[in-house]
Symmetry: D2
Subunit: 303 residues, 4 copies
């Protein structure tokens, strides 16, 4: 349960105070505003604010393309056209602001997406709470043997238990010592900006994260992908659900063209054309390396 009673009361107050606006309102997003969507054991994602909706994407596109977009008779068709042809700027006209609570090692991956605005809780100024991510047993996996990154099978019970014990004990001890170093009773107390270095990467931090829809889609394509680390993927999936309610046309186009689609190389396209003509194509005569051919075969056999 990630929310304190105070925090919940604040959310209830915000949700109980509607106001009038002349701006575009997205009903699918209004219903989610401020509410904390739980993620992992102590994390959450909350929508704090948003700008625009599906119609705002079309409005911007029609400024750009003028009469050229009149021939597309409906908004969903236009949005699909824009997504298919990489017209990214109309999607930049929507913006969303999240409040996210997340483990530091997830935050470190997340921040690599640079085209966004961030205000993170500062451990130079303030004292971090005693909250650590401890994976559920079913998410404790072995190192993958085929993939230098990524996970293999779930660890067996005894080894998973041993890992859990280590993670819990080290988190607790490091936090005890963090507190002991900054304590201010009869000693001077270490500066917070120094004491924080004793805290492991599974401690939770939080931030406000604001991003436009185009860059959010880019983030989601990489982080909601099956190859992304589980601990960031669950945040991305939570955000996918929110975006699907906010801009349903744009989200469906994204799901079809980006998340569920695939980028084929010129070589791959040529192979497909040959196969459709009835030719037997194998790795040897494909022009692809073994690794690339394996990925290509998987792509064609899915579903």
């Amino acid at each position: 349960m990630p929310l304190s009673p105070d925090h919940q009361a604040e959310i209830d107050a915000l949700r109980g105070s509607p106001a009038q606006t002349l701006r575009t309102v997205a009903p699918g997003m209004e219903k989610h505003l401020y509410t904390a969507q739980p993620v992992l054991d102590h994390g959450f994602v909350r929508v704090i604010d948003y700008m625009g909706d599906d119609a705002a994407i079309c409005q911007a596109a029609r400024v750009s393309y003028g009469k050229g977009t009149k021939s597309v008779t409906n908004d969903e068709g236009l949005i699909r056209y824009l997504m298919r042809h990489w017209h990214s700027t109309p999607f930049e006209m929507c913006e969303v602001k999240f409040h996210v609570k997340l483990p530091v090692f997830v935050a470190r991956q997340w921040i690599r997406h640079r085209t966004a605005n961030v205000n993170e809780y500062s451990a130079r100024y303030s004292i971090l709470d005693r909250e650590f991510y401890i994976p559920a047993p079913e998410h404790i996996n072995a190192q993958s043997e085929v993939n230098n990154q990524g996970r293999g099978a779930v660890l067996d019970g005894a080894e998973a238990a041993r890992v859990l014990e280590i993670l819990k004990a080290d988190s607790a001890r490091c936090y005890d010592n963090y507190e002991a170093m900054i304590a201010q009773d009869d000693q001077q107390g270490l500066a917070r900006e120094l004491a924080r270095m004793n805290l492991p990467a599974n401690i939770y931090t939080q931030w406000y994260w604001k991003v436009d829809l185009h860059n959010l889609f880019h983030f989601l394509r990489l982080r909601a992908d099956v190859h992304a680390q589980y601990e960031i993927r669950v945040y991305a999936e939570t955000i996918c659900d929110l975006v699907a309610d906010w801009v349903p046309f744009a989200y469906r186009a994204f799901a079809d063209y980006r998340m569920g689609g695939a980028q084929l190389s010129a070589t791959g396209l040529t192979c497909i054309r040959r196969m459709l003509k009835g030719e037997t194509v194998s790795q040897e005569n494909s022009g692809m390396s073994k690794g690339e051919w394996r990925e290509f075969e998987e792509l064609l056999s899915q579903g």
Copy 2:
């Protein structure tokens, strides 16, 4: 009068359709939504949407700095502190979207500010309207003799009249020929993407421009400055007025610390310290070049 009756009717309809929202509402901005603020002879600036207000800046800052910001007892004090100490990320948490109609030569300066989202009317897809910026006689100036950029005195009546005649005649002729080239009656009609090259830089274009408050302040500091070209400055000044109503605390801090303030060099600071001790400082013993000293003297004698 920049608006067609259709456009005005659309604005009236939008302004007549309030809806409920749970988001932060900035009353000072609601009153401006959609309305066209006239700029130059055919241009305008309209607020299409916004996200956040003064309180949203503080909210983001308090996430970052936690209890550290509790000691600042009020929002305006906190916002002034943030502005003074270059804490820029909380200001990035506000966003605004404008619809702007502007001459192409102004658009070319404006677009150099890269941290913003833009959808411009496309002359590849659509036909531009016959609207050109023709300066008022009081804004037709000679080349400055002291400044390689910038304007000198207003041209005298006869020369100004000659300039106006040229600008009007060339605009009209170029547009007539633009129309003649794309006409589709008994000839094939030149592609729009080619025909547009015949149009001079005082033709009007329009775009949606979306930017966060931090980057907007940066734009305003440079473009509302007295050294900016008049034709972009009037857009920046119009936006200043809108921002002052949207986020009054942030705008006042910006006006005090950025617009009205000045960056002093180490050398300049040393000179001021010497002067305050009663020493007579001149260009010769200041450590500054002549040009720099002239700017320094102007700074100290203003007001």
Copy 3:
């Protein structure tokens, strides 16, 4: 012939003055340094400086992925892997700086790519030269009838001649009047920042443009594409040739995965899987709109 004798002498001097460096040197790029590659009637692209080569991309990837990249036995294989899996940051480790001379209407398209550094010749400070883009007759096309943007057939001789006459006459007259307005003999002379508004969009400007390889590839994918306007495409194609000599492995991977490849939607992938199983798929049972199906069929039948 775009270069003045002075400019050519400067290039010869620069090319005649090699120096020693400890930095990575890309021989394929050294041979192009400073030389002007002609584009259109008066334009050019020149490489002014570069940082990195194929090995620098691998070096950065190996910092990131550590031992994970050791299993890829050669640099080209690693670069193809990075491109295929959208690992964009190693490509950002290469940088290139161009000097480009181009018509203003091309510059207006180009500048929409915001992740780059630009210094453009300023018509506020300086006087533009009398150089205008006048298309060759074989590039004067009618408006496309099937595509709201883009060109159709080449205009027939008489109409093309009429267009050329208009473009030449209007360019000349506008420039004559530009000169007349800024002339400083017996009149005050209009400020340059105002006079420039009389110049049409086919006048040439120039700039320094600096960009990293990842963002350059993004630019090239859009602007060297067959759907890009001819006048910017020729610049992109010229740059493609330079990049192919600079980072041959990266360029080949880009050509295979991006330029020659295609993004398939989930719907499109499903159709291909059905077709490969022998099913007859038509637009009606494809799940695609007519426009999308037409693009899909073209993709599968090319080559």
Copy 4:
């Protein structure tokens, strides 16, 4: 001593292999290439590559401002002019790439500067080394009592010793357990992407960091500032020394106008004008808050 013999041999080999180039060469930077500048107990900064020099800044400015810059008779004067008047784009024409080894908590501050390219060592793919930042006793300070961020007095010997003992013991234990979890002898071995969460924020990571000179100056102004945390400031200071050798004119202008200068508010400027006229100005009649007045007085009394 942060370098392994292998690493040192690699550096020696690179430094022993000069090549010819036609590019601009900055002799002051060539002497630093590849060499590791030690920072903190195990960190370093190394220049891997650079593009441009002082002359390249002027070259770009002269493209922009054309004849307008001819009146500035020398490069240093022009560079000072550009810096004083916030003409930032010419400085963007220089680029530098560093290899940096740094504690994770420093990396987390550093990465907030988004306009840069980064490739970081990935603990998903690879195993981190057993290297932790343990502060020297003279850098172990108490929490500041006047400043919510920042440090107060150096801790006394006994308390500093206690802190050091904690940091060392927790680092060692966490790393032992990290190793134990990923070990692959008779157990399956936890995935690296999970095991890394047990590592505290004083473990060292490394990255390639590439940035243009304008954005580097912005980073240095904030991070070489006296208010920056010591552990990032020493990196910034090391980089300052490298930049001073690379682009001496630009660095001196930066030191004078940015590092050593100050931003005065409109209110502050007015106070200075009043004081120079002989008026006695106090906080009460200054128009400033107490905190702001204190900062203002400090500024005027320094040196």
